[in-house]
């Protein structure tokens, strides 16, 4: 009895083969060896060849396993709630990074958006937990800003200011 090929059984070798072709094309544009037997293109060519071979072998073995009827390995799939949470977390992170780079807002408010936002996405609805989250977020963002500026002399991103 045959089993259908799983998505990762196709994607992983496809990515490996695709990358190997990209590396090969990138290596083609490099100058040839001067003053040494193997120039800057040598190792990329070797890596490209190995990656291509491994990708082809992996694809062949996956097809063979599917034809032999070997059942695919169980991979845990995240729940819908988990996916929503991860997506919301990604949005919060992107917004926070945008704010960190922006000139109209300082480091501490941008950090608070990240910490409180991510914590809010992950928390259960306990009031006490949310209160602790805000307290810890304020302490961490202000403490880190002070550490960076006063001790490590790092220029803060964005407008360079605390607030």
């Amino acid at each position: 009895m045959q089993h259908p090929l799983q998505l990762h059984s196709i994607l992983v070798p496809a990515v490996a083969i695709g990358l190997s072709i990209a590396i090969f094309l990138g290596a083609n544009s490099l100058p040839s060896a001067r003053f040494e037997p193997m120039g800057p293109a040598g190792f990329p060519y070797i890596a490209s060849a190995i990656l291509f071979l491994l990708g082809v072998l992996d694809l062949a073995m996956s097809i063979r396993a599917a034809q032999k009827g070997q059942p695919p390995k169980d991979r845990p799939t995240p729940s819908t709630r988990g996916r929503v949470r991860a997506f919301a977390g990604a949005v919060v992170t992107i917004v926070a990074l945008f704010l960190m780079e922006a000139r109209f807002i300082g480091f501490v408010p941008a950090s608070l958006v990240l910490l409180v936002g991510l914590g809010g996405v992950l928390s259960e609805n306990a009031k006490r937990e949310k209160l602790w989250l805000v307290v810890i977020s304020c302490a961490v963002s202000i403490g880190t800003a002070l550490l960076l500026t006063k001790i490590l002399s790092v220029v803060l991103p964005g407008n360079g200011g605390f607030f």
């Binding site: 193997m38 992996d58 995240p78 988990g82 990074l97 937990e129 977020s137």
Partner: protein, 493 residues
């Protein structure tokens, strides 16, 4: 011996002892919390070590490593969740013992086993590293190149998933490492005209991305129920001498297994624990008790996983080859401080090499004392909600990368690697193999090109020099064993 005693003398001071103590306690704490681990913590603290003295930075990071492997015992026993992969086998017998009301006894055996495993392997670390480093001075470029290939194959062979997927992960790591300026000629490679790639994918964003951010994504997706904790009393932690001496053979055997597996490049403490547990079960007079609360299981697992830490330091210090994935990150720390890992470390910077050896012993002692008295308190930390830990971890990753590189672009690279790391885990590509490929690729390329220059373009010395040939044969055996092994078994039947 004089150098080692000098190293101990240098570490007996406020700041060295402070960093060893802090590192060990941080390591235990993070090792106890499922989802975090030594690799994450060390990667996260790498930017902080920029501003530290090299010796203090390295003893701090090594102490974290020692502590974290032991910390996994706490959550494995009390929460049925291994804090680190190396504590997976401890969970099999530790938690059942805890459920039988013997949590203190289980913890005590685990802590004592960790201490003994660390002690025995430390003796081997102190005794074997200097002569191995002296022997490695005879290695030429092809020997080092073949040793790196052996490390890639070993980690591919022992990682989760198939050997092929492990090799693909290692090859991906090698490919990522090649982006940017060529070390010899300065020619920009594989940048495809994207200007921020001209400096390549830097160490910190890559490591933080694949280790930490990918784990954060995993944890965000995990909506499983909160964990329950087994209770115990401090008085249960102190057992009689007879309780410990009963397991003396197991202590010694498991420590030696752990040390040996730790020495193998790229393998690590999880495999050490699994192998030692299997041997203990097969040699036990009551194998049926394993998995139901057998003390021998806890002893075997914990002695081996701690022994593997010092075992893994042996090739790191002596050869510059990481004995585990965490050691690969320690190589990154050495590079950040402009130190060249390898046999030269003993001759050129003995205070670093022997400092690491001495710190490993002191950290082992601190680990023993701290875990004996504070395991219960550490277990409470495991109950901290994810909603507080994950945002702080993410924040420190962003700050850490920005502090180190000063570029917001590197933060985006870190997040991209985080997503890539998560997808790699889904696709069965082991992260450890990827990181090993990334860390060792520049070294492997340098050795190959040096060898070709030395021997006028000839690869023949790879087959005629005995040590290089030995590594080549070992690599071929490991690569083809999954195919050849079953064939030999069929012929024997």
């Amino acid at each position: 011996m004089t150098d080692l005693l000098d190293a101990f003398g240098r570490l007996i001071g406020f700041w060295p002892l402070f960093y060893i103590g802090l590192g060990t306690i941080l390591g235990i704490t993070v090792g106890a919390i499922p989802g975090l681990g030594a690799a994450m913590l060390i990667a996260l603290l790498l930017p902080l070590t920029y501003y530290m003295d090299s010796v203090l930075a390295l003893i701090f990071l090594v102490s974290i490593y020692v502590g974290s492997v032991s910390g996994g015992l706490i959550s494995a026993t009390l929460l049925k969740m291994p804090g680190t992969p190396s504590a997976i086998m401890t969970t099999m017998d530790g938690f059942p013992m805890a459920k039988q009301g013997k949590a203190g006894r289980a913890l005590s055996l685990g802590i004592f086993s960790s201490f003994i495993g660390g002690l025995i392997s430390w003796v081997l670390l102190a005794v074997l590293s200097p002569p191995l480093a002296t022997f490695a001075l005879k290695f030429g470029p092809y020997e080092y190149f073949m040793l790196v290939m052996l490390a890639f194959l070993l980690i591919a062979a022992v990682s989760k998933g198939t050997v092929l997927r492990g090799l693909i992960a290692a090859a991906l790591g090698v490919s990522v490492a090649m982006v940017g300026p060529d070390l010899s000629s300065g020619t920009l490679r594989l940048t495809f005209g994207v200007e921020p790639f001209n400096s390549g994918f830097r160490l910190l964003p890559t490591l933080l991305g694949v280790f930490v951010i990918s784990q954060v994504i995993f944890d965000m997706l995990d909506t499983s129920a909160p964990i329950q904790q087994a209770k115990f009393r401090l008085s249960e932690m102190f057992l009689s001498a007879k309780d410990y001496t009963r397991h003396s053979v197991n202590f010694l055997r498991s420590s030696l297994i752990g040390t040996w597996i730790g020495i193998l490049p790229g393998v690590g403490s999880a495999v050490a624990a699994i192998v030692s547990y299997s041997v203990a079960r097969n040699t036990s007079s009551h194998p049926e008790k394993f998995g139901t609360g057998a003390e021998e299981g806890i002893v075997a697992s914990e002695a081996a996983n701690n022994a593997s830490v010092n075992g893994a330091l042996i090739p790191l210090i002596a050869l510059g080859i990481p004995g585990s994935v965490v050691d690969a990150i320690l190589i990154g720390a050495l590079m950040i401080h402009n130190l060249q890992p390898g046999p030269g470390l003993f001759t050129n910077q003995p205070e670093i090499a022997y400092g690491i050896v001495a710190a490993a012993l002191i950290a082992n002692v601190v680990m023993f004392a701290f875990m004996l008295f504070f395991s219960g308190h550490i277990a409470k930390l495991c109950m901290i909600p994810k909603s507080m830990i994950l945002p702080v971890v993410m924040f420190f990753c962003i700050v850490g990368v920005y502090t180190a590189t000063g570029r917001m672009f590197d933060i985006r690279i870190m997040l991209a690697f985080g997503l890539a790391g998560y997808l790699m885990r889904l696709g069965g590509l082991p992260i450890g193999a990827f990181v090993l490929g990334y860390i060792l690729a520049p070294f492997a390329e340098e050795q190959l090109r040096s060898g070709l220059m030395l021997y006028d373009g000839s690869l023949l010395p790879m087959f005629t020099r005995p040590i290089a040939l030995l590594f080549l044969v070992a690599s071929i055996l490991i690569a083809f064993w999954p195919v050849v092994g079953p064939m030999i078994k069929r012929v024997r039947r």
